[in-house]
Symmetry: C2
Subunit: 203 residues, 2 copies
DNA sequence: GCCTTACAGTTTACGCTGTCAACCTGGAAT
DNA sequence: ATTCCAGGTTGACAGCGTAAACTGTAAGGC
C-alpha cells in the first residue's frame, strides 16, 4: 500500500456542516439541546446520516470537546510563556483557565462536567494531548514529579470547583464575583506554593 | 376551613415503596439508571402511578436530594459542634464534607453535580434549609458577613472541586489519594484564614 | 338498598431520544 | 453495458417523561 497516510477525519462537506451545526447548537442552547435529529434537520439531512461520519453521538461530542481543549490549551500555553515569577505565571494561567470556563461555559460543561463513566471511552492519546494545559499547573510549581502532580491537582480542583459552581449558578449571586475569583485564584496559588502537611512526613 | 394543617407528604404505602426503590436504584446503579419505568416495574405498579404521588420525576429526585442534604447536614453540624480552634473545627468540617461526597457519591452527584438550570425549580424554602451545612464554612471564619460569605464560598468551591473530580474519576489515579485530600483541605483552610488580596483594598 | 362521588390505579398514547438494518441511487470502473 | 460502491434515505426498535382517558372500588347520603 502507498505510504500516503490519510487523515482519519475525511472532512467531507456534510461532516463539516454537521460539526458546524453542532457547534452552533451547543453555543446557543447548550449541551442538553444537542440531539441528532435537531442537528440533522438544521443541516438538511437525516439523523442516521450523522452515523456515516461519526461513530456515535458521543464521538461527535468528542470532536467538540477536542475543539474546546484546543482553545483552552492555546490560551493557557500562551499565557504560561509570559514573563514573571512562577507565582505570577501561575496566577495568570489560573485566570486564563477561569476566563475560559466563564466565557465558554457550554464547552467547559462538556469538557469537565459530563459524567464520563457512561460515555464511551475517550481515545487515550487524544485524552493525553487534550489535557496538556492541566499539566502546566504542576510544571509551574517546579517541584519533584510526585509532589508537583499533587500540587497541580490541588490547583486544578480549586479552580474547577469555582468555575463549575459559577457556571451552575450555585454560588450566591450577591457575592462580588470578581473579588471571589481573585481570592480563589490567590488561594489556589497558596495551594501550589505554601507549606502543606503531606510534604513534611513523606519521602 | 379547619385549622388542621395536613402534611404535604401523605406517606402512603405506594409512595414509600417508590421512594425506597428510587433510593435502591440510585445507590446501586446511579442517577442515570433512575427511570420512572424501572422504578415502577421494580415496585409493581405502572410508570404513571408515580405521578399520583410525585408531581414529576424531578420532584421525586428532589425528595432524594433532601435526604442527601439531611445526612450531609447531620454529619457537618455534628462535627462543627466539637471542641478546638476555629481552624481545627474547619478542618474537621471540611473532612466531613469530603467524606460524605466520597462515601455517598450518587447522592453527591444529584445534590451538586446536576445541571440545575434545566430541572424544575427546587422549592425555595427547602433550598435554604437544605444548604444549612454550607453556611458553616462561612460561620467558622468568624469574619464580617460579606467577607465571611466570600471565604465560605472559597472553602466550599475548593472542596467541591476536589470531590467532584474524584467522583468523576478525572484525577490521575496514581496520585496518593489521602495525601491529596489532606493537602486540599489544608489549602481550603488557607483560603478561609490566610490574607487574601480582595480584603485589603475594599471596605 | 341504591346512587353518587372520590380516589387509586391502569391503559393508551404522544413526542422525544440514540441507533441499527435494509434499502435506494447516482456515478465511476471494468 | 454491467457491476460495484460510497453516501444517502426509510423505517423500525427500545427506551424515555408524561398527559388524557378509562376502570374498579370503597365511602357517604338518601
Amino acid at each position: 500500500m502507498p505510504p500516503s497516510r490519510q487523515t482519519r477525519d475525511p472532512a467531507t462537506p456534510l461532516r463539516e456542516a454537521i460539526l458546524q451545526e453542532a457547534r452552533t447548537l451547543l453555543e446557543s442552547e447548550g449541551y442538553a439541546a444537542l440531539s441528532t435529529r435537531r442537528i440533522a434537520s438544521a443541516v438538511g439531512c437525516t439523523a442516521t446520516s450523522i452515523y456515516l461520519h461519526f461513530k456515535s453521538k458521543d464521538s461527535l461530542i468528542y470532536a467538540l470537546i477536542d475543539e474546546g481543549f484546543d482553545e483552552l490549551n492555546r490560551r493557557v500555553l500562551e499565557v504560561s510563556q509570559g514573563e514573571g515569577t512562577a507565582l505570577d505565571l501561575l496566577r495568570d494561567v489560573a485566570l486564563a483557565y477561569v476566563d475560559f470556563g466563564l466565557e465558554r461555559p457550554e464547552y467547559y460543561e462538556i469538557m469537565f462536567m459530563l459524567r464520563a463513566e457512561q460515555m464511551e471511552r475517550y481515545p487515550v492519546d487524544a485524552y493525553r494531548r487534550a489535557r496538556r494545559s492541566l499539566e502546566v499547573f504542576a510544571e509551574l510549581t517546579a517541584l519533584p514529579a510526585e509532589e508537583a502532580a499533587r500540587r497541580g491537582a490541588i490547583v486544578w480542583s480549586t479552580l474547577h470547583g469555582l468555575v463549575s459552581l459559577l457556571i451552575a449558578q450555585r454560588i450566591d449571586i450577591s457575592l462580588d464575583r470578581s473579588a471571589l475569583i481573585e481570592d480563589s485564584i490567590h488561594s489556589a496559588c497558596l495551594g501550589a506554593f505554601a507549606a502543606l502537611p503531606s510534604g513534611a512526613n513523606r519521602t
